[in-house]
């Protein structure tokens, strides 16, 4: 305990000395912050100094080993560092799928060469990663993916199309699932997890427009792209195991994002009762049916946060993760859909704006969020797939024949 206290004090002192003062209290939204990469944009410019200082110290990835550019901190120390950052109201120095998805997967499955090649560059924010899983004909049934990787000496030649590659147009490398053995006995067995430099000839990226408008999603095409065989993460034809572990990271991350978003919305005055007061004018306007719908969403949000807390408290007490964590993704996303839908209902005609005059920024954003939220229960494993997982793995219900 004394060690942790002294670490905390040291960390605080270091942060106070090295964090650009202008960044104190700097807020970033979902797509803001430092995502790094070859085409990184630093807004404000001090974000670059902040990234470099933290990366130098190993604190962009505080829990990773020092040998790969991390901070080598114990979980309790990493948590204390996070608390000190929050206390000083400093933004995260670096964010993105390198830190949250491919990094942890490399640490678990990567060869020494792959770890030394990629992890330090992730920590320094030099490379931005994106994910190549889904395909036009392989959504929920991911194992039916068709992107081919044919062996040619010490290279694979990759051809096919990946879809829903978030920030594909801004990323430098992609981790992709490719089919290396089309004749495998089971579809899951002929798949390899491959790391691909997007600057390689034959890779092209096209942004996708959503029902909500502009989006970070892209379609990524591969046409005879030559990728070194050494870039396979895990065993050749054994990529499915790697892919599933990474999906676990992704679902935890998605639940965290929604948990955080709900809190921000409540604090930022876009809590539903505030909206009701604004658009319906206090007691007179809020009828009992609407009051109950608002309460239902608020209460479901609270029950969800309490369940997340229960998991965390159990982990702190040394228990194995309980079955309840399997509900996070499906419940958080369905709840976010209901909340954004009710927000538009409350706004009434003011909730219908797409762009232009007659609507304020909040109203326009609310319409777009409502539309965008429809995708929450599709991306990262549909709600139906989540329910399948609960039914089979948690409840032990038998497979259909």
């Amino acid at each position: 305990m004394a060690d942790l206290d002294s670490f905390r004090a040291e960390a605080r002192e270091w942060l106070q000395a090295h964090a650009p003062a202008s960044l104190r209290g700097h807020r970033v939204d979902e797509s803001g912050g430092n995502w790094g990469g070859r085409r990184a944009v630093f807004d404000p410019p001090e974000m670059k100094d902040w990234l470099d200082a933290m990366a130098e110290r190993g604190w962009t990835a505080p829990g990773w080993p020092r040998a790969y550019g991390g901070g080598g901190l114990e979980p309790a120390e990493a948590k204390a560092l996070g608390q000190e950052l929050a206390q000083l109201e400093l933004p995260a120095p670096l964010t993105g799928f390198g830190l949250t998805m491919i990094g942890p997967t490399l640490l678990r499955f990567g060869s020494e060469e792959l770890k030394r090649e990629h992890l330090p560059r992730i920590c320094r924010g030099e490379i931005r990663w994106c994910q190549g899983y889904s395909e036009p004909d392989a959504g929920s049934d991911l194992a039916s993916l068709k992107t081919r990787a044919e062996r040619d000496g010490d290279h694979f030649v990759v051809s096919g199309t990946k879809v829903w590659t978030s920030y594909g147009d801004l990323s430098d490398w992609i981790f992709a699932l490719v089919r290396t053995d089309p004749h495998a006995r089971k579809r899951q067995e002929g798949i390899t997890f491959l790391l691909i430099d997007m600057d390689t000839p034959g890779v092209s990226v096209k942004p996708i427009k959503l029902i909500s408008g502009k989006s970070p999603f892209c379609e990524t095409h591969f046409e005879n792209v030559r990728v070194p065989v050494a870039n396979a993460l895990g065993k050749i034809d054994g990529g499915w195991t790697v892919a599933k572990v990474l999906l676990g990271h992704e679902r935890t991350m998605i639940a965290d994002v929604f948990s955080g978003m709900a809190r921000l919305q409540e604090r930022g005055g876009s809590a539903l009762p505030d909206l009701a007061r604004k658009y319906l004018g206090g007691d007179g306007g809020i009828d009992s049916a609407l009051r109950e719908r608002i309460a239902q969403i608020e209460m479901d949000t609270r029950a969800f946060h309490l369940t997340v807390q229960r998991t965390r408290d159990a982990a702190k007490a040394g228990h194995q993760p309980g079955p309840e964590s399997s509900l996070f993704k499906v419940f958080a996303t369905e709840l976010n859909k209901r909340r954004s839908e009710l927000a538009v209902t409350i706004a009434g005609p003011a909730g219908l704006g797409w762009e232009g005059p007659g609507f304020d920024d909040g109203e326009l954003a609310r319409t777009r969020s409502w539309l965008r939220a429809r995708g929450n229960s599709i991306e990262g494993g549909t709600s139906e797939i989540q329910l399948n997982i609960i039914a089979k793995r948690v409840l032990g219900l038998p497979d259909a024949r």
């Binding site: 309490l306 159990a314 007490a317 219900l397």
Partner: protein, 380 residues
Amino acid sequence: MQLVLTEDQELLAKTAADFANDHSPLARVRRLRDSGDPDGFSRSLWKQMAELGWLGIPFPEEYGGAALGLAELAVVLEALGRKLAPEPFLSSVLLGGQALLLGADEAQKRAWLPGIIAGESFLALAFQERRSRYDLKRVATRAERAGDGWRLSGEKIQVLDGTVAHAFVVVARSAGGEADPDGITLFLVPSDAQGVRVERQQRVDARNAALVTFESVALADADRVGAEGRGGELVERAVDRATVGLCAEMLGSMSEAFDRTLAYLKQRQQFGAPIGSFQALQHRCAELFISIELCRSAVMAAARAVDAEGAEAARLVCLAKARCSDAAIQVANEAIQMHGGIGMSDEHDIGFYLKRARVAELSFGDAAWHRQRWARLGGY
């Protein structure tokens, strides 16, 4: 607030689960119902529970209690709820006992609490009326000054365990009109007092409930519980505590009904396959699982918040009861549907879970009531 059981609480949960398994199979509940048992529960089992110290959990040591809280009592009630044990925790330990603990003077507490904790005396809270629905402050029963004392007249419905109660804590109106939130006073009325009439009511769950009428019952001022006119808040706090206890019981019974249903789905064959392999049923089971897990979080939080008398306590009680009410009935309805025809037969035990779920759902405020209350407490 830590949402995890301590080692002591884990141990208590284990003891309670073993006790419920050994002493309270569903066959016992069925027998109590079919024999038309006048008490609706077992007095000897109640004594055993007293000896285990469970009745004293939410009372201070000076009255013979264990000085623990709802967090501990919830663990016991959940285990008993799994087997639908009908012993009178809600009436005697929670509604009546907590009303006295929170509002009575020292002499009243010394007179009643040790007996309750020992399982020798029974108390009941008479609060519900024909027109009150869930509104604790809608009270037509009148208490009028008469000399140095009072005269009490009115009717209370579905008084839990009313036929065994040695005394009633009666919610009465000492001033104002029927729907006035102020002017409510509580009285302790012995069940053998002149003018008290108790009649057993038969509800769908076959537990003990009574219609109790008070006809110009003469009371001393010393029979008053708490300050005159301040009974509204008192009854609200006592019912909130009982609500947490009821929610814990519901959590147990919905978990058991769900487990029984899952077991049936794995065993029952149709179309040459276990029906649990059909996705139409699997997804509904996954939804039930989610509902129950959220209930568990809410019940644990409510118990701990009420124990700590935190600012958020009442809202968390609303959350727990709204969640449990919805989930209990959702689980019970699905349990019957998924059992199919056999689920409709009285011979099968699953129907007992539906009947108890329905009673629990509509006791101390249903889900809609608690959502409205949550909103009101949140200022909208």
